[in-house]
Amino acid sequence: MELKESDIRKLSELARVSLEGEEVGLLDNMREIIGYFEVLNELKTDAVEPMSGGTSLVNRFRADAADWPCQGLGREDFSVKEGESLKTPPVFGESNA
């Protein structure tokens, strides 16, 4: 892709960094660097798992299922409930609940 000066301004806004007259220099550098990344298009990676960490250790997640067996556990420990909502007591002062 071909970066424009407006893209640099948008990126600097997203990154919370103001650029004071540095846009033109950065634009040239970033065009060249992003152009270099195109070399990765030579690779076929559809069937490749991404490597997200520094080791091959993987996180163990529960199944991404809606009917997780632990769902709702702990509700009975809350003294005040309002429909589906649970109320926690205030940290300071008296509870109005």
Partner: protein, 479 residues
């Protein structure tokens, strides 16, 4: 007259135990030398004489009482300024942290203190460890002790220069894409990047968390092994740290065991772009290893050419995330007038506090992670990283260690690449793959280069096999 040049951790300990010098005397001696030499090299951003002399006196008292304060008792070390030492500055060579003082010790520092080490000062680096020359430091470039017109390398250039110029016996650096090994090669000292997870990163200022590792810089491979042994190990405060068995790293290397290993020579590291002088030295290293009757074998790591692109997508993405926390309000607020909005304040402070290379990488990372480009760039790079790791997995089925150059050229001139970031990035081609794959790698100075610019060679090992690469390095040093 004491010759600092001859002092290694081992000879220092011998001198201390047989009372050739006291810890206080030698610490003072090191400061007298380092304070003068630093005006020439700018290796240290801060020197801490009072704290060091106080710690040295305590070591002397313990020695006088017949106590052994530890294997590193009194050893003067230099610490990269992105590693926290309680009560000392930790600027990461950035204006945004100019007045920050560490409120606690990094885990590696706590371990070194427990073993009696003395900290001379905090060393220069490229801002937040981003660079290959220390030219990106907000506080001036570090000069190469072998040629003051040339860079010391980076990002741990201050640590490598301090050890090479005998201002400290050893040092700590951090290595995200070669930042320990490249300056070690340029300055003619030994630099070890441990396996990812071998050393706790608690208290190291984060740059790119899936790649960063703290590693030692030393005068020889035995000292590097001693320092690594002191700092390695699992730490509950760093969930990526691992409890691994490294065996006795400081035991005398067993040549017969090493002869049972096989060293791979990857074609891709000896191709186009390698300086003829570096190539010639690599060929001599190969001959030297053959003379030890170590087995060598040609191998291929076919995805090496993608490593720079992969690294310069993944690393800035992590940089832009890690550096989002700096608002510039606490440690070095720039002068301002009026009552700006909070957003304007952030924009202004971060613009004032970060240098050009840091801004470039934050923007690159923001680009790579932004909607519409994430899959095409960041996810693609993560997948290509898997392929690079797979190359190593396959190679390590055939060989135990991989030999390669550390850098395509010897140390370049100050300013030579400063205006061409892509050329600077490409000079990391041989060091980046070990970080992407999480492997241990040591940079060893090629022998016989007295009076010339140093050149380094690199030994990459299987995960947790630091002993293999350090033992080969130690045997090479004896030739």
């Amino acid at each position: 007259m004491l010759n600092l040049r001859d002092l290694t951790i081992k000879s220092f300990r011998e001198g201390l135990l047989n009372k050739s010098f006291s810890t206080f005397e030698i610490t003072k001696f090191f400061f007298d030398f380092a304070e003068e030499k630093n005006s020439e090299l700018n290796a240290f951003l801060s020197l801490h004489r009072d704290q060091a002399l106080e710690a040295a006196s305590k070591i002397d008292v313990r020695l006088a009482e017949g106590d052994d304060p530890g294997v590193l008792a009194g050893v003067p070390l230099a610490i990269k300024d992105n590693i926290l030492v309680e009560g000392l500055p930790a600027t990461a060579a950035s204006k945004i942290l100019e007045n920050y003082s560490a409120p606690y010790d990094a885990e590696v520092i706590a371990k070194l203190k427990k073993r009696g080490a003395i900290f001379i000062g905090k060393t220069n680096l490229d801002e937040f460890a981003m660079g290959s020359s220390t030219e990106n430091s907000a506080f001036g470039v570090t000069r190469n002790p072998h040629d003051s017109e040339r860079v010391a390398g980076g990002s741990s250039g201050g640590s490598a220069a301090a050890v090479a110029a005998h201002m400290a016996i050893g040092a700590l650096g951090t290595d995200t894409g070669g930042s320990v090994r490249e300056p070690a090669a340029f300055c003619g000292v030994v630099g070890l990047k441990p396996t990812y997870g071998a050393v706790s990163r608690f208290g190291a200022i984060a740059m790119a968390s899936s790649l960063d590792q703290i590693g030692p810089i030393a005068k020889n491979a035995e000292d590097a092994a001693t320092l690594f042994q002191a700092i390695a190990g699992i730490d509950p405060k760093d969930s990526t740290s691992v409890d691994a068995d490294y065996h006795d790293l400081t035991a005398d290397p067993d040549l017969e065991r090493i002869r049972e290993l096989k060293i791979g020579i990857p074609d891709e590291y000896f191709g186009e772009g390698l300086d003829p002088e570096v190539r010639g030295e690599m060929e001599k290293v190969i001959e030297d290893l053959k003379s030890l009757k170590i087995n060598l074998k040609k191998i291929s790591l076919p995805h090496t050419k993608y490593a720079v692109a992969v690294y310069y997508l993944i690393m800035p993405a992590e940089v832009s995330t890690n550096l989002a926390r700096y608002d510039g309000l606490r440690y070095s607020p720039p002068p301002r007038s009026g009552r700006p909005s909070l957003l304007d304040l952030y924009l202004y402070n971060r613009s004032y506090g970060f240098g050009p290379e840091t801004k470039r990488r934050i923007l690159l990372g923001t680009f790579a992670l932004s909607a519409g480009y994430y899959d095409a760039y960041y996810l693609k790079a993560q997948k290509a990283r898997s392929l690079i790791k797979k190359d190593f997995d396959e190679a390590f089925r055939e060989v135990d260690v991989i030999l390669a150059p550390v850098t395509p050229t010897p140390a370049f001139k100050i300013g030579e690449k400063a205006n061409d970031p892509l050329q600077m990035y490409l000079s990391d081609i041989f060091t980046i793959p070990a970080n992407l794959a999480g492997l241990p790698a040591v940079s060893m100075p090629v022998r016989g280069r007295e009076g010339k610019l140093p050149i380094g060679f690199q030994l990459m090992g299987k995960p947790w096999r630091e002993k293999d690469i350090l033992d080969i390095g130690r045997l090479y040093e004896r030739l």
